[in-house]
């Protein structure tokens, strides 16, 4: 309950091994990762150990990161795109406590492993980087089928008809596909994945990327992957194009820009300021900061 408690830090070195998990657990995780990479988009079951943070807070992502980290790695943790969000700070503090030697960073380009919740960084990732997603619901078919045994069979047969029916029903009811995030995405032409609760804005970044994307669902005990240079296509109809969030100012017709760095091409957080005005700001804090640094240097 008190991960940053100074007493806990005092005990950590004496009581716990590198990266917290016992070696058998880490080996199981690595084997599961290999299988997930070999069968892109397939949800591979694994035992999923209990972590000292609660289920739902990123225990799946944490287990992946702990299995990946070696003493020479550099890790970045973000939540909603921000490094300073309480949950990101908490998870980072846990890595600091249990992974001596591993360095931390807020720079996207400086990290070898990035653990994220709900966002993909704006800066395209390189082939030597791994993005680890925290996943609440690994199975996109849960939208249409509650029974897990049945869903497994449907995935095996690539039977996704009911997902398309769901999209079609949306069009009939709203003339819009109403899936806002967790957009079902077909990987390498077979399995459809839940890409975790990233906005639709981030989904195209999964397609033919240079980096490895790993998805860890701790509570639901599944790991899956989108390997580098793999097709990742959001499902839709030929005459209904996939759309991403737009940030159009309805009064001017122009796109809102970030109030800090002025970006007009990033995913924005929208919130009321103290005066009650709606303001917009880059959700990716590192992206926004690096743009500000460049601007300050130019002045």
């Amino acid at each position: 309950m008190f991960p940053t408690d100074t007493m806990a830090q005092g005990h950590a070195g004496a009581e716990y091994g590198f990266a917290f998990l016992d070696e058998d657990a880490k080996r199981e995780l690595r084997r599961t990762i290999f299988k997930a990479v070999c069968i892109p988009g397939h949800q591979v079951p694994y035992a999923s150990r209990e972590m000292p943070i609660a289920r739902g807070f990123g225990t799946g992502g944490m287990q992946l990161t702990l299995a990946l980290l070696g003493p020479r790695d550099c890790v970045k943790v973000i939540d909603q795109g921000a490094d300073d969000s309480v949950n990101a700070a908490n998870i980072r503090a846990f890595f600091a406590l249990t992974c001596p030697g591993v360095s931390g960073t807020t720079l996207t380009e400086g990290a070898s492993v990035i653990q994220t919740r709900h966002r993909i960084p704006e800066l395209p990732l390189r082939k030597d980087q791994i993005l680890v997603f925290q996943v609440p619901y690994p199975d996109p078919l849960v939208l249409v089928e509650p029974n897990a045994a049945m869903r497994r069979r449907m995935h095996g047969r690539a039977d996704y008809a009911r997902l398309w029916v769901k999209l079609y029903e949306d069009m009939v009811a709203f003339d819009e596909i109403t899936i806002s995030h967790r957009y079902p995405t077909r990987i390498n032409g077979h399995y459809i994945i839940d890409p975790s609760p990233i906005p639709r804005y981030d989904v195209p970044k999964l397609h033919q990327a240079d980096c490895l994307y790993l998805f860890g669902a701790g509570r639901e005990k599944r790991i899956y992957a989108v390997p580098p240079h793999t097709d990742a296509i959001p499902i839709t109809f030929a005459d209904v194009p996939f759309t991403v969030e737009e940030f159009i100012d309805r009064t001017t017709g122009k796109r809102h820009c970030c109030r800090r760095c002025g970006a007009t091409d990033s995913f924005l957080d929208e919130f009321p300021d103290d005066a009650g005005n709606r303001v917009f700001q880059c959700s990716d804090a590192a992206w926004c900061d690096s743009r500000l640094t460049v601007q300050e240097a130019a002045e």
């Binding site: 309950m1 008190f2 991960p3 940053t4 408690d5 716990y16 091994g17 917290f20 016992d22 058998d24 199981e28 079951p45 694994y46 035992a47 999923s48 150990r49 209990e50 972590m51 609660a54 289920r55 739902g56 890790v75 939540d79 909603q80 795109g81 490094d83 969000s85 309480v86 990101a88 700070a89 908490n90 980072r92 030697g101 591993v102 360095s103 931390g104 807020t106 709900h118 966002r119 609440p136 029974n147 897990a148 045994a149 709203f174 003339d175 819009e176 109403t178 899936i179 806002s180 995030h181 609760p197 990233i198 906005p199 804005y201 509570r219 005990k221 969030e245 995913f267 957080d269 959700s283």
Partner: protein
Amino acid sequence: MAYVAIRGGEEAIAGSARIMDALRAMGAGDPIELDQITRQMPLLHSRVLSEGGLYHPRLAALALKQSLGDSLEAAFFLRAYRSTKPRLGETVPHDTRAMRVTRRVSAAFKDIPGGQMLGATPDYLHRLFRFELMDEGAETFQQITRDWFGNRPAAHRPTTFPKVLDTLRDEGLLPPLEEDDTPPFDITRTPLIFPVPRSAQLATMARGETGGLLALAYSNMRGYGDVHPTVGELRVGYLPVMAPHPVTGKPVEIGEVQVTECEIVAMFEKTDEGAPVFTLGYGACFGHNEVKAIAMAVLDRAISVAAEKGSIKNPSEDPEFVLLHVDGIESMGFCTHYKMPHYVTFQSDMDRLRAARDKAEEASDVSN
């Protein structure tokens, strides 16, 4: 890990931890001792032991202390701690006839071989406050202890008791027990991929959350199901734990665990072959927790009945519904996580709602 300057979050967490610590310290007198938790709140302690799925009485007490008495959080501490420990071996299967019994009742028979033994239970106590407990001293405890041990003749009780259900088996009213040497499903090393064997079902419920098991079992008892249980035998006691010796391989006693065990008998079912027989539901957990053991036995029966009939009519009969929702660590964690920021996904929600509203407005403009 090198220090990274992070705004806001880290300081807030550190401050929150300090408040939590201050809450348990301020005006609270002496720190509560682990033995006081174990001895004076044994039933709460039992919940943590069984839901944590790790029999470590001392750490269970520490967990309760550190979690300010939250049983879900305390069980969580034990689970997380276990993730750091390798599995070194397996015990042999245990026969609970070997249990050093402290309490044993049967609702099925007025008297049972070896006798009913009420033991420690609040079942027949009036829930009326004993206001004098508001002001107890150490002397009171010593006096109670002296009175209990002082006038007690040396007991000559057997160390083991036969199982009540053996009587029913002898008569053929319960089907004979079949020896099953299949290695049990280890829920700590294998995820539940349905369908799962009964051993996975029992293991999952054995560390399930008491309230969760109770709610689902109660739904079956009330009418969303038809188990209609009779408690054949409920026993509480200490079970010697046998593990194979690392050199000789022969089972040796390595300690004992407190266990609550419940066997329920359910109304008979027609069988395709032979005469009708009663059916059995089994529940067992670490520590002293009778509600949990009974609820587990009812759910075990409910799930098995549906499997035998090949049709699920109620939530308590659906193995997926029961087994994936009774774990306190998982359900509590996921419920709690909704307090975390969700503003990126909420942004997407607003985007879709605005788009859908625009379409609706356009449509009404056209029709006007």
